[in-house]
Symmetry: C2
């Protein structure tokens, strides 16, 4: 009997019951260690070890500010009831706009930027495509917190992403400082996979985009990851960026400062890692959340 027909255990199973577990990552972080591209060997090694890499200036300040103006225009002009537009809990104010590369030429241009795409290709060792694009608005005084999570856990269980072969880039359009709710990451957490407790309700994405309740890692697991690594929160001006592995544990606190924090969030997936049926057994989420080319 050919072995390929035998059922193979999913190395990244999650939300299967009452047990959490920290399992080892079974995939590489750099999929083509010697690959040429925009990143130096030292930058790639840092990314491999830390699970993230901060760029003090990935695009120019001017370009970031022009994108910020465009983002504000979209925030004012888009219908908050569109399915790919998410508003604050209890508010009509727009908090996230998905698939911004699909019908906005300026954002499409960034998403095709040869330097940015080249970084993703170099990390993932193949051609890539855009799994998700999103503008996140975190307004001053009232931008909400997000609890710790691994994006990959959700993308695997709810979207059918088979392996850890995707990379995210969070590009700052405003200043990102210590007080406006910056992205926090757990250094080294990308090397561990935290299986979460519980099942996924249908249409979970409708509420999880505002406040996640499933796919939330156990606190003891988080404590262990933080003890092995460290919490970091890279800061920078408009045009700075943080690239992070799809499995790096991250969170952000609320923004109590007067300064809004607006970021463009891009996720590149390897063309050799195309989505399958969701591993959690629920129907695939909408295309604006997880593109299926």
């Amino acid at each position: 009997m050919p072995t390929e027909n035998l059922p193979v255990a999913d190395p990244y199973s999650s939300r299967l019951g009452n047990q959490w577990e920290i399992a080892p990552r079974v995939d590489p972080v750099l999929w083509a260690p010697g690959a040429n591209g925009p990143l130096s060997e030292s930058q790639r090694q840092t990314f491999e070890n830390w699970g993230y890499y901060p760029f003090p200036q990935l695009i120019s300040t001017d370009r970031a500010q022009s994108l910020l103006a465009e983002a504000k225009y979209l925030q004012q002009s888009l219908d908050p009831n569109l399915d790919y537009v998410i508003s604050e809990p209890n508010h009509q104010e727009i908090r996230s706009i998905f698939r911004v590369h699909e019908d906005n030429p300026r954002f499409e241009e960034v998403c095709r930027d040869e330097q940015i795409v080249g970084i993703a290709r170099q990390i993932l060792g193949s051609d890539v495509y855009l799994h998700q694009s999103r503008i996140n608005f975190k307004p001053g005084f009232r931008g909400k917190e997000f609890f710790w999570h691994s994006d990959f856990e959700t993308w695997h269980v709810e979207d059918g992403m088979p392996r850890m072969r995707a990379v995210s880039i969070s590009l700052s359009l405003t200043e990102n400082n210590a007080y406006n709710g910056p992205l926090m990451l757990v250094r080294g957490s990308h090397l561990s996979y935290v299986r979460c407790v519980g099942e996924t309700p249908e249409e979970h994405f409708r509420s999880s985009l505002k406040k996640q309740e499933f796919g939330v890692p156990n606190r003891e697991a988080l404590r262990l990851l933080v003890e092995q690594g460290e919490i970091v929160a890279p800061t920078g001006g408009p045009g700075s960026a943080v690239m992070f592995d799809c499995n790096t544990m991250h969170a952000s606190v609320s923004n109590l400062s007067p300064y809004p924090r607006t970021n463009l969030f891009l996720v590149f997936n390897s063309v050799e890692n195309r989505l399958e049926e969701p591993f959690g057994g629920t129907p695939p989420r909408p295309r604006f959340l997880s593109y299926r080319p």
Copy 2:
């Protein structure tokens, strides 16, 4: 007609309607500029300019850790239904214990510590008494945020504290780092008084200790204060402390880290600034919140 019998406008009136205002402070910050005591001239000047002063080590690490053990014991053993014990919203877990100096010898000893009381005397230029003492627990992963506020605004309106002649000391019993929801202050904000919008409901304190809804400064006022000053968040190990003026605007974000943040909070008031009838016209709050000797 003797002028002292004419009604005198309250320089710190607040919550009187729909208008907010930034009014100048009419009181000194240092009430006896040349006074001898534990603080150097440079420390006093910094406090006068900034509205706060961070002490890297106000009491020894050992003493802080011993107080932390005592605080944990009280958290475990006190009845959460006591009026001076406050639990988390939606939890029974104790978040604050007031009047800890009244029936606990170890905390009483800190509150009488000659060095600590001497600092308060030196700032306030008179003998002092303890207006409030409190242990604040901010547990890892779930310690809640507190929005910006001036303590004096509440103490004036709800407790009848006449003038800005009180000083607070927040003493760290655990580490206070950038990620466990540290105290944030607006440098220089003690020199402005923000009159807030709205009236105070009766028994407001029952809800405001969990989540403040009245006496909340307007966002435009906060923006102006932050533009004039700067947000700071002093960090330090067990035994470090931040002393701040009763009118310094402060806040803290939630604690998403695994590390609890536990502080002992002491407020010293000048004996020449004893409480009168609350300026907002509501009945005085309980003694555990604002002591009336």
